[in-house]
Symmetry: C2
């Protein structure tokens, strides 16, 4: 019930916070093993889930097969590339208006929360499709 301070949890969190790539659990497993070669995949999953439940990190349940994790717990949005699967942060002033409207919609519906996600080709995949790479 209470968090212990373990090297596993510390390294998982610090590696996640270094990344802007929204890694999956096994992406992190690969990265963390360079510091802690003995760590098990189950430990990575367990710690990520615990930290997400505690609000220390975010678990992104985007469409697609694997869940992704985000060290940035502020409310923000993501775009997934349908070609390579990359997930990028999205910024746009108008999203504040969307949030305001949806906040009213939540009240009217008696709903608790909303989720928005975008799909679109990332820079690299755009270049590739244009034959530039």
């Amino acid at each position: 019930m209470k968090f212990s301070r373990t090297s596993q949890r510390r390294v998982i969190l610090s590696e996640l916070r270094k990344l802007k790539s929204h890694p999956t659990a096994d992406d992190l497993y690969t990265i963390v093993r360079e510091k802690l070669p003995q760590i098990s995949l189950g430990t990575v999953y367990r710690n990520l889930d615990q930290m997400a439940a505690a609000g220390i990190i975010q678990k992104l349940e985007l469409s697609g097969r694997q869940k992704r994790f985000d060290g940035n717990v502020e409310k923000h949005y993501h775009m997934r590339c349908p070609h390579c699967g990359a997930v990028k942060d999205v910024e746009n002033e108008r999203l504040a208006d969307v949030e305001n409207i949806l906040s009213d919609v939540l009240d009217e519906l008696g709903a608790d929360s909303f989720w928005i996600e975008f799909t679109g080709h990332c820079k690299d995949c755009n270049k590739a499709e244009a034959g530039l790479v």
Copy 2:
């Protein structure tokens, strides 16, 4: 490449169209087996995927473990109950405004599409939590 007319496909589609519950593939498998006891789960998955690819039905890649299917191909939104997992259609006039803004946001981001989903307790689970059931 071309669709053959099979009883399996016909029954899957007609049963899906009767439902407003956004069933999973195995929900439909259970239902369809009453008409076609020999059908296999793989056939249900394959036909649902094919029909979704052809735009005859919708595949909902909501967060959560299983994919769900919708006989209604019009653009509309859904709310998932975090307690029982039920998925219901959502209607609200203000969503048109959200769509308009997001359509501009798509252009500005160079994105292709957006997805919105809501979370909120359904009627039954609200009653249950209020101790009325």
